[in-house]
Structure formats: structure tokens, C-alpha cells
């Protein structure tokens, strides 16, 4: 087991954000975290990266508590891509992806680091934009660059916070392809998502959060209309299509 979380609690001051979170993940697994805004998805990812310190409970990686890892060592194991945002200063795509090599190098990037970066750029077909300013890219291109940076990190776990937000359909599918590629390499990927249609199309395992607690953990069949209704406050109908489950939103439950 690569990741094991037990009874994790976290709060900002008195306000509880995560309560009694327990789950584990194995190598090569893709987990989709879903839940309404403010249900604690992003906070959970930040706790796993150790950017936020849990109030109680434990997070273990390879059976060792995350506090016992040095920052550098943890960075070799976990890569993290937050939600899209603008950067204050310009950076080239090459530089951004090269940053993924930081945990593996010391004060400067080696030739080997640059080669790895170039390989990833070529593999993800980013060579056209390799020396463009990251702030000038479209949302979809940017997100691909950040995934490339996570790939360059060569970590065993990848955490993605709403990677498909604001992307058009094609870019969303490209992102999922990349996720599947990484998982096929044996990496564990945890993704927070809003788009339930995409989730039900691609997910193998879905963890649903409501007000900081896990209310469901299972495959796509575990998404019942009642559960979605109680978590999102929205009435939905489910339809089968080519073995996939389609989720159609009907109306807000008053």
C-alpha cells in the first residue's frame, strides 16, 4: 500500500474542514475525489502534500508517517498540481517543466535533468510552445504543462486539484489521457473533480465528500441518484450508455 490515511482531522481555527477521513490507495490506482464546493477536497490534497498539518489522525506513505520524511524526500514521492492560476512573472514552459526535477537535483539543474525535461516535452507534444511564456498559454495548454511538470518529478503519487476546470471538451479528454498514461506507469493519481459526467465516464474509484466527511467510497456503480441528491442537493437521473453510467441533472432539491 502506497498511501494510507487514518482518522484525519483538519480545521481552520474552530471551523472543521475534514473529519474522520480514512482511506488507502495502491500503486497504479486512479481515485477521483468529488463533492460540492467547500466539502474539503482541496484541503485533503494539501494535507497529503503536508503543506497543511493535520490536527489529528495520520497519513502514511509506504508505512511511514509523512512527518518522518524530509521535504525533499517527500517531493520525490508526491507531485502536486493545484488549480489553475496566473503567475506574477513570466516563465518559459521549459523552465516550468524543469522545476519538476528540483527534488532530484541540488542547486542547479543537471544536463540529465534537462534531457528528461526535453523528453517529456516531446512525449506530450509540447515542443511548439516549449519556449513560450506560460502566462500567454490557454488554460488547456497551461494545465498540460503543469501535468508535464508533475511527470518530470517522477514521483509515485500525483495529486491533481480540478485539472479539467474551465477546459474545453478536447482538452479535458487530453488531460484524462495523460492521467491514464501516468497510472499505466504505476503511479497513483488522486484527482478532485466537479464534472460528474466525466467522473462517471473515467473513474475506477470514486470517493465522495460531504462537509469534510467521506460519504461514499467505491467504483462508479457506487454513485446512486440518492447519494448525489443528498450530497449535492440536486435531483439527478442515471442512464446506462455503452456500459457507462450517464448522470443527468434534473433540478435543485428545495
Amino acid at each position: 500500500m502506497i498511501l494510507d490515511i487514518k482518522k484525519l482531522e483538519f480545521g481552520y481555527g474552530k471551523e472543521k474542514v475534514l473529519e474522520n477521513i480514512s482511506f488507502s490507495a495502491v500503486q497504479g490506482e486512479v481515485i477521483m475525489l468529488i463533492g460540492p464546493n467547500g466539502s474539503g477536497k482541496s484541503t485533503l490534497l494539501k494535507c497529503i502534500t503536508s503543506y497543511l498539518k493535520a490536527d489529528s489522525g495520520e497519513i502514511k506513505i509506504y508505512d511511514k508517517k509523512i512527518d518522518s520524511y524530509s521535504k525533499k524526500k517527500l517531493a520525490e514521492i508526491i507531485a502536486y498540481v493545484p488549480q489553475l492560476k496566473e503567475y506574477s512573472f513570466s516563465m518559459t514552459v521549459f523552465e516550468t517543466i524543469l522545476m519538476g526535477r528540483k527534488p532530484h537535483s541540488s542547486w542547479a539543474a543537471s544536463e540529465q535533468d534537462k534531457e528528461t525535461t526535453a523528453e517529456i516535452i516531446a512525449a506530450l507534444n509540447l515542443e511548439e510552445i516549449a519556449f513560450k511564456n506560460i502566462n500567454e498559454l490557454s488554460g488547456g495548454q497551461k494545465q498540460k504543462v503543469f501535468l508535464a511538470r508533475a511527470a518530470a518529478q517522477e514521483s509515485e503519487i500525483i495529486l491533481l486539484d480540478e485539472p479539467t476546470n474551465n477546459l474545453d471538451l478536447k482538452h479535458q479528454l487530453e488531460i484524462f489521457e495523460l492521467i491514464e498514461k501516468e497510472a499505466a506507469l504505476g503511479k497513483t493519481v488522486i484527482v478532485t473533480m466537479h464534472d460528474l459526467a466525466m467522473v462517471s465516464r473515467f473513474a475506477e474509484r470514486i470517493i465522495m465528500l460531504k462537509e469534510g466527511e467521506i460519504v461514499s467510497d467505491g467504483d462508479k456503480k457506487s454513485l446512486s441518484a440518492e447519494k448525489i441528491n443528498s450530497v449535492y442537493g440536486v435531483e439527478v437521473s442515471l442512464k446506462e450508455h455503452n456500459g457507462n453510467q450517464l448522470i443527468i441533472p434534473e433540478k435543485i432539491v428545495v
Binding site: 494539501k46 502534500t49 503536508s50 503543506y51 524530509s70 521535504k71 525533499k72 524526500k73 517527500l74 517531493a75 520525490e76 508526491i78 507531485a79 502536486y80 498540481v81 493545484p82 492560476k85 503567475y87 506574477s88 512573472f89 513570466s90 516563465m91 518559459t92 521549459f94 523552465e95 516550468t96 522545476m99 519538476g100 528540483k102 527534488p103 542547486w107 542547479a108 539543474a109 534537462k114 534531457e115 526535453a118 523528453e119 516535452i121 516531446a122 512525449a123 515542443e127 516549449a130 519556449f131 511564456n133 506560460i134 518529478q153 495529486l159
Partner: protein
């Protein structure tokens, strides 16, 4: 036959190398220009010197007034301009980078104004005769410097305290800096109101920076801090590049963002206060230089720090020479000149907005 992926990889590495070479050339050009400008400033100042004699004094020593002009006035002044320009530009680049604010500089954070207030405070409230015996080492010129340093460091502590409070955004820190600037400016004005003519003249003289006023001893102090802090930022350059992608990502790449930010603020502010306390206030070099360089180096902070420092040194040597010679026989303090040139540039940056950086 090479696969197309292999070829693409090679092309990419070649393009990356080409980009780096462009920046190495920039560095080399800056170094050559600094050397040229330094010699120019040694030869051509307020007093015209003969080339042969100057070279003779430079390389063979000798005595008399020429020796005095060259070794005790021109050379320390040029070296101070170089060191102060380098230090201020480096501090500006660092502050902009860690506060993620292109408008941050020792000026905008209130550090310069605090130094001016400290100097004014010591000039108006203490005369040399009033210095208590245990402070006698501060006599004369060191007293305003000491107080300038003290007050600028106090401001840094306040800025650091604000930046450490949990909710502080980059904008908050700069806004706090603006508030501190007005506070110290008001304080300096109040002191000037109560000062006599002679004190008033000293306060105003002190407020406008001038590299010509430092001694060799003071220059060594500036150089000591500049070299250590410059080397630190070159060594840690990559970490500071990574801070640009946000604290959360920096942490997930193994970079302790809080620690890096604290070290950087401390180092940059010590460097600024040391320079201001000996040279006086020289505005806008620290703000404008990193903007010019960033257009070329982009996100690579190590290259930005090195080249900003060099460009800052060069700019100050040239400005200082201009200030001394352009309005002969009047010798302007360089602080006045940089303010005249810098303010319109500053407004230009604001008007241009985000697209510029």
C-alpha cells in the same frame, strides 16, 4: 536512424542552450560596460585630469593632489556606486520576486524612508557633543548611518511581522510599506521643522544619496555584505524561481517557501540598510533595473539576480558620472538624478500594467 522523438529532444536542448548563451552574452556585455564606465568615471569627473598622469597614478602610485583625487575621491566613489547599485538592484529583484509584486523595492516597502528618518533624527536631536561616551565610536559621520540602519531594520522587522501573520497577502505587505513610508516622511518633515539652518542642510544633504561621500572603510563594509548576500542568492536562485509558482507547489517540490522568504527578506533588507545608511537614499535603481533585465531572463531568478545586480551597478556608475558632470560646475547628488529619471519610468510601469512584466 534517429527516431523523431530523439531528434525533437535534441532540437529542444539546442534551443535551451541557445537561450542560455544569449544571457551569458548579456552578462559579459554588462561586465565589459562596467569596466569601461568605471575607467571613464575615474578619468572624467568634475576636475579634468590628464590621461598620462592619471594612468601613472593609477598603476605606479605617487603623491600630491592628483593621487588624492584619484585614490581618495574618484576610485572609492566609482566602487561605491558600483557596489550600491548592485546591492540595491539585487535587493529590488529579490523583494519583487518573493513578494510576487513587480512594484516592490526598498523604496515601496518604506525601508528607504525609515533610513532617512533615522539619519534626520540623529542629526537634529544629537550633536556630536551630546554623544554619550559609550557611543563615542559613532562620532561624526557614523552617527546618522547608525540611526539610519537602526530605523530601517526596525521597519524590516515590522514588514516581516506583517508578512508572517497568517492572512498577509503580498499586496498587504506593500500597502503596509506605503503606510510606513508616509509615517517616516511625516516624521522627517516634523524634524526638519524643528531643525536649525545647519541641521536642515545636513538632513537634506543626507536625504539625497551620493556615493562620493563614503570612505574606504565604509566601502569595505558595503562590499562585505554585498559579496556574501550576492553569493547566497546565486546559490539559491533556483529555489527562488520555484517560489513564483506558489507556496503550495514550491513545498511539493521540496522548497520550504516560508523559510526561503524569511531569509530573502532579511538578507535583502540588511543589504539595503547598509547601503542607504552610508550612501543615502538612491531611489528607483532597485525598482527599475530588475524590470529591464526580467524581459530577457524571464523566470530564471538566478540569471535575474546576477544580471540585475550588474545592470544596477552600471546604471549607478553612469548616473553618478552624469550627475557630477552634466550641470558643471554644479555637482548634483545622484539620488536627485535617479529620482528624476526613475519616477516617469515608474509611472510608465504602472500604466503599462501586467502586460509589461
Amino acid at each position: 536512424m534517429e527516431s523523431s522523438a530523439q531528434m525533437q529532444k535534441k532540437e529542444l536542448l539546442k534551443a535551451e542552450k541557445k537561450r542560455n548563451i544569449k544571457i551569458y552574452i548579456l552578462t559579459a556585455v554588462l561586465v565589459v560596460m562596467i569596466i569601461t564606465a568605471s575607467f571613464y568615471s575615474i578619468f572624467f569627473g568634475a576636475v579634468k585630469l590628464e590621461l598620462n598622469q592619471t594612468l601613472n597614478v593609477l598603476f605606479n602610485g605617487g603623491g600630491g593632489s592628483l593621487y588624492n583625487i584619484i585614490w581618495n575621491i574618484r576610485i572609492p566613489s566609482v566602487l561605491t556606486a558600483l557596489a550600491a547599485g548592485m546591492g540595491l538592484a539585487l535587493a529590488g529583484a529579490v523583494m519583487q520576486s518573493i513578494l510576487k509584486n513587480p512594484l516592490a523595492s526598498p523604496f515601496t516597502l518604506g525601508i528607504s524612508h525609515a533610513a532617512a528618518f533615522g539619519a534626520a533624527f540623529s542629526i537634529v536631536l544629537f550633536n556630536a557633543a551630546d554623544i554619550p561616551p559609550y557611543f563615542s565610536f559613532l562620532e561624526g559621520f557614523y552617527l546618522p548611518s547608525f540611526f539610519a540602519f537602526l530605523f530601517s531594520q526596525m521597519t524590516v522587522v515590522v514588514v516581516l511581522f506583517i508578512s508572517h501573520s497568517r492572512s498577509a497577502a503580498a499586496e498587504t505587505i506593500v500597502l503596509a510599506g506605503i503606510a510606513l513610508s508616509s509615517l517616516f516622511t511625516a516624521g522627517t518633515t516634523a524634524l526638519q521643522f524643528f531643525a536649525d539652518d545647519q541641521e536642515l542642510a545636513s538632513v537634506i544633504y543626507w536625504t539625497f544619496g551620493d556615493p562620493g561621500r563614503t570612505s574606504w572603510e565604509q566601502l569595505y563594509i558595503i562590499l562585505f555584505f554585498l559579496i556574501i548576500i550576492f553569493l547566497y542568492f546565486i546559490y539559491k536562485g533556483w529555489n527562488y524561481s520555484i517560489l513564483n509558482v506558489g507556496d503550495e507547489v514550491a513545498n511539493s517540490l521540496g522548497v520550504d517557501s516560508k523559510k526561503m522568504r524569511l531569509y530573502a527578506m532579511t538578507a535583502a533588507s540588511i543589504l539595503t540598510s547598509v547601503i542607504i545608511s552610508f550612501v543615502g537614499i538612491i531611489g528607483f535603481i532597485g525598482l527599475v533595473t530588475p524590470h529591464i533585465i526580467r524581459k530577457i531572463t524571464e523566470g530564471n531568478q538566478r540569471q535575474l539576480f546576477i544580471n540585475s545586480a550588474l545592470a544596477g551597478g552600471l546604471l549607478l556608475i553612469i548616473s553618478d558620472n552624469l550627475a557630477r558632470t552634466a550641470f558643471k560646475p554644479v555637482v548634483l547628488p545622484v539620488g536627485v538624478l535617479t529620482a528624476f529619471l526613475g519616477a516617469p519610468l515608474f509611472i510608465y510601469l504602472i500604466l503599462k500594467g501586467r502586460r509589461y512584466w
